[in-house]
């Protein structure tokens, strides 16, 4: 863990640090507000959040260039959408099943993706999208593009065959893809001890995949691990499996009281809350982060206010859009926000492919 701190010191500026904290606060605030809207009956279905896991998606996505896609953030990874720059108002409209640019009401909860910012939405069959991310990486390799794909999955998803197919495929061709395993120790109610005999990180070497374990509640450590995985990927040194150790602090969804979780675990992990820890750390560094929470709350309140005025989708549109009518020319994934200060610092060295079509 010491080496992550040293690397973080080399790679991150104070602006990065404030930005990382801001994005984690934004994720938590959006989800707290979403949960409240669910309880008010304004969000249909259920509501899923990533409380306590904010450092994983925020830290990892911070390390991506604008042209590197996320395929796909899961229900604990709202931060990936936010770091990439997805519009907050659209997110709330989507949560509430209102007409919106992300899913047109065809999807709910964190099942969305903004192709314009390079995010492909998740599917519920985990880890299907790990294979799709491997295909994106395969395409980048075929075209000689200097990009890599990031994909998320939980520790429970490592039990499925698609995990093996993606690991084997990416290892075989040494593809530029980052596999980020959120080891939150629970797959719905099933603890990881009932999921596998040995930690999946131990399997990586057998696939020819580099492996690294980080404290998933340390946003800088997650950033460093992802940054280094990206460097390896772009250098042609193949895929990396990152294990981000964390814990799911809420139920699987709002309908789940998680009574099957030992309360002492919740208490233990509360002490390691990624936002509280990071806020204290930045304050110790002398950074002024006192006003951040208020700024973020105002931004979220404004988005919600607008979203609440959006109409529901037209029922007559329910059968539209099953098929695509006009073939897209090139990549359908646009460039997202590029957050890490290191990109601006080395802008001259990068290839034009970073400005994805």
């Amino acid at each position: 863990m010491e080496s992550f701190d040293r690397r973080a010191g080399e790679l991150l500026t104070d602006d990065d640090r404030v930005g990382l904290l801001r994005q984690m606060l934004l994720m938590r605030t959006v989800e707290e507000r979403g949960l409240a809207l669910y309880k008010q009956g304004k969000v249909p279905g259920s509501f899923y959040d990533g409380r306590g896991q904010e450092a994983v998606s925020v830290g990892a996505t911070w390390a991506l260039s604008g042209a590197d896609p996320v395929c796909s953030p899961l229900i604990r990874d709202l931060g990936a959408h936010l770091v990439k720059g997805t519009d907050l108002t659209q997110v709330f409209q989507h949560y509430m099943g209102r007409d919106n640019a992300l899913s047109r009401g065809r999807e709910g909860n964190v099942h969305f993706g903004d192709k314009g910012v390079g995010v492909v939405g998740m599917v519920s069959m985990l880890p299907d999208m790990m294979v799709v991310a491997t295909g994106l990486a395969m395409a980048y390799r075929m075209r000689g593009e200097r990009r890599c794909a990031l994909t998320f999955f939980g520790d429970g998803a490592t039990s499925r065959g698609d995990w093996h197919e993606a690991m084997n495929w990416a290892g075989l061709d040494q593809l530029p893809v980052i596999f980020l395993m959120e080891a939150n120790q629970l797959a719905y109610s099933t603890p990881s001890a009932r999921q596998f005999a040995r930690n999946p990180i131990e399997r990586a070497a057998a696939y020819g995949v580099h492996a690294v374990t980080v404290d998933g509640n340390d946003v800088e450590a997650v950033f460093v691990a992802t940054h280094d995985a990206r460097e390896r990927a772009l250098a042609g040194d193949g895929p990396t499996l990152i294990e981000a150790q964390t814990f799911r602090m809420h139920g699987h969804g709002a309908h789940d009281d998680a009574r099957y979780v030992d309360p002492s675990l919740i208490a233990e992990w509360s002490e390691r809350d990624p936002i509280e820890r990071y806020t204290a750390r930045l304050a110790e560094r002398g950074l002024d982060v006192a006003g951040l929470a208020e700024d973020v709350a105002a931004e979220v309140a404004e988005a919600v206010a607008v979203a609440l005025t959006a109409p529901m989708p037209d029922p007559a549109s329910a059968t539209e859009g099953v098929f695509c009518e006009v073939a897209p020319e090139g990549s359908q994934l646009g460039a997202g926000a590029e957050r890490w200060s290191g990109f601006a610092a080395s802008a001259g060295e990068r290839l034009p492919s970073a400005a994805a079509a």
Binding site: C71, L102, S103, R104, R106, E107, H111, F112, G113, K115, V120, G121, V123, S124, M125, D128, M129, V131, V132, A133, T134, G135, L136, A137, M138, A139, Y140, M142, R143, A149, G161, D162, E165, A166, N168, W169, L172, G321, V322, F323, C324, E325, V326, A327, P328, E329, G330, S331, Q332, L333, A357
Partner: protein, 320 residues
Amino acid sequence: MAVRTYLQAISDGLREEMRDDERVFVMGEDVGAFGGAFKVTDGLLDEFGAERVRDTPIAEAGIVGTAVGAALAGLRPVCEMQFGDFVACGFDQLVNVAGKMHYRLGLAVPLTVRLPVGGGFSGGPFHSQNPEAWFMHAPGLKVVAPSTPADAKGLLTAAIRDPNPVVFLEHKHLYRRVKGEVPDAALPTPMTARIAREGEDLSIFAYGAMMHTALEAAEALDASVEVVDLRSLVPLDEAAILASVRKTSKALVLDEANATCAAGAQVAALIADQAFEDLDGPVRRLATPDVPIPFSPPLEQAVLPGAERVKEAARDLLDY
């Protein structure tokens, strides 16, 4: 125009799209140096190289899933399942990932999955199936099934150019058995039905290998029998089906697939729903009973619909 086998026509279609569009590439098990289990991709490796003619691990979910990713990135993957039956291993990626992608997220998945399907040569339960109904029932997938060399090339061209995932059913029993004139140019065949034989007294609806069985039966019958080659199952050319029934007033629907919920069941339901008043008899269906395709020739011949059974069913209906 040149005379080509059904198999050569598929190869030609693939090669020409790869020449015309550098985004097009093929991937599958043993498609490279070996040229594919049926030699459809024979010679492509030499012409296009290993980047565009990709031998993959034995991983059908991997093949379909990585192709989805490549399609999102702007390429035009053409996947080969070594046998159509094996697509069951990639089913989830096709049905849940590819098929629902555009509706859910507005992302197009221009992807072609070639399935060598069908029985008639002792392939047994794992190398003979006709799985088209699985995909007809999954929103967002197109399903095409050519019966002639010209349509095999034309529908493959259309599938590759289509911005949606297309399941392309190529019947193994037609590969070398059927020859025909094929246009030299790459002309996409519309995903519509085709009147294969004009008639007045009875319409037989079929696709793939059953289209030839239907023609054989029609030639032998002492009646004016129309044969409609469906060619595309999704989209299904409802107007052509109804127009034929309205002309002949009698409908016999063939499937080589297992009977329950087969493509022909959809055709029969359409006719019952939309053309009831035009009928002069019940809509009759002939299909393979709901059994895995058996290996031993007499058992296999007992379950696959053949020309004799088609003639018998047609006569019954003509006499009705």
